[in-house]
């Protein structure tokens, strides 16, 4: 194991191996094919600083156990926030109800805990064990840096959030494993005002690390100056164009394009049910040969990384698109079993109160060969989009959007005026065909991604080299 026994469940809540065996037995007492139990203990700590004062500090402790029983394509699920045997057995029997045959019940034997393939985020000193003063110092530094950036910066709001999550997973097919998952994040938001005009700017960063992540290039001063720069820049932004245009996406966070346009549509549940625009397209060309897209949950310290997914399976690198050809889906236990496919370690859930489903981890495009300057120089008239807010996709029709928050016009190969935010809209299964240049500057985002699906929010990352899209619709107001 990469981590000593998660004492929180065994010592604090008195869970024993014997108990785990009897819970699995109860879960299968009506004849389900498979059962798993997910214990979660999560501590969150957050502080916010606003109007130059520490407005609040918060600690949250959430503990629970979720029990799932599968019977064919059916899922029964129940959870308990009490970790005593009586409550857990009750939840197990509630989940068991999905299956309707009778079975002997009793106990399901489990083996010794498994050794992890990965050790991606070993942190010597957990952020949740550090004092509040160190965290306040980060916020004070960011606040001062943002205010000092420009006299037009009027409002600065900074916040710090960390999380230490212990999980323990045991399954009826012999899996017995656990993990400790740290996560930190720092946010800076500014509002700039000038002549009655107001604009906002945001920058954030984080990952599966401790406070040391904010020491080097992700230091609070750098983040704050960037948030302030964006707010000031927007004061002079002009209306965005409307209609199809050539668009250059900057590297890093614009990888949200892949998350929306490609990633969601390749989650196995939609494809098993044939409700995705990508259903049945495996092996077919969906993009230019320049495009290779992967989902990789194994990158050390990344926000979307995991040693094991929330079903206890090791995460992997999965090739989604190889040189333009659609290669694979992102699987969880249920879909992999029903589709007779290999597991990819993408079964994830928001917490003990949710059923795991196929989700992304860190999703990005491999670097190409073009120099970013050459990509911009090749555009006569187009848009250069560097920062984005959020995005969304309609899995079934394949139409997706993502909204630029920092973008410029490109005129005669040069980056010129900043433009106001605008939504870009396109079609997932065809947008990569329009990619005709891929940069050599792959970068992952700074660790702020949150992905929502079926009401479950989870941390993810995205990444992209600078790329050029021959044509995509830009949703501005200037016709």
């Amino acid at each position: 194991m990469t981590e000593s026994k998660p004492s929180v469940f065994f010592d604090l809540y008195g869970v024993t191996t014997h108990d785990l065996e009897s819970y699995l037995g109860a879960a299968l007492e009506r004849g389900g094919d498979y059962a798993d139990i997910y214990f979660e203990h999560k501590i969150n700590f957050s502080i916010s600083l606003e109007e130059q004062i520490v407005k609040s500090a918060t600690k949250a402790v959430n503990v629970g156990v979720g029990i799932r029983v599968l019977s064919g394509e059916k899922t029964g699920y129940a959870y308990s926030e009490d970790l005593d045997s009586r409550s857990i057995l009750k939840a197990a029997r509630t989940a068991a109800f999905i299956a309707s045959s009778s079975s002997a019940g009793g106990r399901v034997g489990i083996d010794a805990p498994e050794v992890h393939e990965h050790n991606l985020y070993s942190v010597p000193l957990l952020s949740t064990d550090l004092g509040i003063q160190d965290k306040i110092a980060l916020l004070r530094e960011a606040d001062q840096a943002a205010r000092g950036f420009d006299a037009r910066i009027h409002q600065v709001q900074t916040s710090y959030i960390d999380e230490t999550k212990h999980v323990l997973i045991v399954t009826s097919n012999g899996k017995y494993t656990w993990d400790l998952q740290p996560l930190v994040r720092l946010n800076v938001s500014c509002i700039a005002e000038e002549n009655g005009k107001r604009q906002s700017g945001y920058q954030g960063a984080g990952g599966r690390r401790s406070l040391d992540i904010f020491r080097d290039e992700l230091n609070p001063t750098a983040l704050a100056r960037e948030a302030a720069r964006l707010a000031i820049l927007q004061l002079s932004a002009i209306e965005a164009p409307a209609g199809p245009m050539e668009v250059v996406l900057g590297n890093g966070w614009p990888g949200i394009l892949l998350h929306e346009a490609i990633g969601h549509g390749l989650e196995a549940d939609f494809n098993r049910k044939k409700t995705s625009a990508f259903s049945g397209l495996i092996g077919q060309s969906v993009g230019s040969e320049l495009c290779t897209v992967v989902d990789d949950g194994t990158i050390p310290f990344r926000r979307g990384s995991l040693n094991i997914d929330d079903e206890g399976n090791p995460t992997k690198q999965t090739v989604l698109i190889e040189k333009g050809v659609l290669r694979g889906y992102l699987q969880d236990h249920l879909s992999a079993k029903l589709m007779n496919a290999e597991l990819t370690g993408n079964g994830r859930r928001q917490g003990y109160d949710h059923i795991p489903i196929p989700r992304m981890t860190n999703t990005f495009m491999m670097a190409g060969e073009s120099a970013p300057e050459d990509i911009i120089r090749s555009v006569k008239r187009g848009l250069y989009a560097v920062q984005f807010g959020g995005g969304q996709v309609d899995i079934t029709s394949g139409k997706f959007v993502f909204s630029a928050s920092e973008a410029y016009l490109i005129e005669d190969g040069k980056v010129t005026a900043p433009i106001k935010g605008a939504t870009l809209i396109g079609d997932g299964p065809t947008v990569l065909r329009e990619v005709n240049m891929v940069g050599n500057d792959l970068k992952l985002d700074q660790g702020v991604g949150i992905c929502g699906k079926e009401g479950q929010m989870i941390p993810v990352s995205v990444g992209l080299p600078t790329i050029k899209i021959r044509e995509i619709t830009v949703g501005g107001t200037e016709k």
């Binding site: 709001q157 409700t275 619709t473």
Partner: protein
């Protein structure tokens, strides 16, 4: 021995005071949930749970800290209260902080009709059957519906709130929803849509068959959707998409956004901010309202607050904190965030209906877009700049002509609110924010 929620709340408040807190309030919510989804006639997922969450806010003088937990065992709570008091010593003094000056004097909730006792004899099999019926109705509505999901969700909640000023109140509520989500398919492509009925009372829910059929019609009308040319035309929002516009108004009128100057509606009280036909209220006293409650999440009595009246901005919405910051009265919109702190939330926030039917509104458009779904987050709450992806139906000579997708609509919320020309009579309540059909004079559609 298990303590009642009231005893737990009282004990936490007492512990906080004994450890040095000068004021505190405790909010506990218990939720009993049942959820079933059905696909192609078979149950796909069945989920049942009872969960509890406790949120504590305490003050040491003018300093504050908060905490939240799902673990209500005395040992954990004692430690958490002690840690919260320690944290409060390390935050800054905030002159506007504190408990509300006055709280609700009675928590008589019967007039609000939040709880329907008739759910008690609605068995799990009946609940599953409703999901099955909704799905069956949508699947058999048309041969082009090739796939579908139906669901039924039920929730019974109990909310308990107590504070160091002697306030104690509690209320219970029920709500249920029936949803159908059909997938319609032709060789040219696939489309999905949904319809939902949500209500506190069993007798107010639409029949599963009605939900399924309406969902099917919504999905079928999207088949064959195409882009249109970039243009500037009138835009009609259906009630579900008009809700999102009203949601942007809520955000902009929330005291939190206003004091942070993060709203396009700051400094506009008593000024004209919208077309004179437009009236928006926040009404926590609406009978059977999904957002109704006797008091807000810090014990302030709830009320009906006009927000925009005949186009004039009348009130922002407040918690006790934002009210002090902006020298206004609390409006009973205090809302506990996940972390235990108190923000500003909507109760039943809705755009008052007009007189026109949706057919009359569509008939008033010579050439324009009827919006049935919006995607993406392209709204800037500070400036009101608006740019979102759209699915809709093109209107030609007053009639719905053909479906449209992969286009955006763009404008600015200031202008859009002022450009509202017609308001429908068809307010659809499926959440805390609601609206009827709305027509906006002109917006830019970006397409081919």
């Amino acid at each position: 021995m298990t303590l009642s929620l009231k005893e737990t709340a009282e004990q936490v408040v007492r512990r906080a005071v004994s450890k040095g807190a000068t004021a505190a309030d405790v909010f506990i919510r218990e939720e009993e949930k049942f959820s079933v989804t059905v696909r192609k006639g078979d149950v796909e997922t069945l989920k049942e749970s009872v969960s509890r969450g406790l949120r504590l806010r305490l003050f040491v003088g003018k300093r504050t800290a908060t905490s939240q937990t799902s673990d209500l065992s005395p040992a954990l709570l004692n430690t958490l209260v002690d840690e919260t008091v320690e944290m409060a010593h390390l935050t800054s003094e905030d002159a506007s902080g504190g408990l509300p000056e006055s709280t609700a004097s009675s928590s008589d909730v019967s007039a609000l009709e939040l709880l329907d006792p008739s759910w008690a004899d609605f068995t799990p099999d009946q609940r599953i059957d409703w999901a099955r019926r909704a799905e069956a109705a949508t699947l058999k509505a048309d041969p082009r519906i090739t796939n579908s999901e139906g669901s039924f969700d039920f929730e019974r909640t109990r909310t308990v709130l107590g504070n160091t000023l002697g306030f104690f109140g509690e209320y219970e509520g029920t709500s249920a929803s029936v949803v159908a989500m059909p997938y319609a398919q032709t060789p040219e492509g696939m489309q999905r849509d949904y319809w939902a009925s949500v209500s506190r009372f069993r007798s107010d829910l639409e029949s599963p068959e009605a939900v399924g059929q309406r969902a099917a019609q919504r999905a079928l009308r999207r088949l064959g959707a195409r882009k249109v040319r970039t243009c500037e035309v009138p835009v009609v929002f259906d009630p579900l998409t008009a809700r999102t516009l009203v949601g942007h108004v809520f955000q902009a009128c929330s005291g939190d956004a206003v004091y942070r100057r993060g709203s396009f509606l700051i400094d506009q009280l008593e000024k004209k901010v919208a077309a004179s036909e437009l009236t928006i209220v926040d009404d926590a006293r609406k009978t059977r309202g999904l957002g109704s409650s006797p008091f807000d999440d810090e014990g302030v009595p709830t009320r009906r607050t006009p927000v925009i009246e005949n186009g004039i901005l009348k009130n922002y919405l407040h918690s006790s904190y934002t009210a002090r910051k902006l020298r206004a009265q609390p409006t009973g919109n205090g809302s506990r965030t996940g972390s235990g702190s108190v923000g500003v939330g909507p109760t039943n926030f809705y755009l008052n209906p007009g007189v026109a039917s949706s057919e009359e509104i569509i008939a008033s458009v010579k050439s324009g877009l009827y919006v049935v779904e919006l995607i993406g987050q392209g709204v800037n709450p500070v400036t009101g700049d608006y740019s979102r992806g759209v699915v809709g139906v093109w209107i030609e000579n007053g009639k719905l002509a053909y479906p449209v997708q992969e286009v955006t609509i763009a404008g600015n919320l200031h202008q859009m609110l002022n450009d509202i020309e017609l308001i429908g009579n068809d307010v659809t309540f499926i959440g805390t924010i609601s609206a009827p059909t709305v027509k906006i004079r002109n917006m830019v559609i970006s397409g081919e």
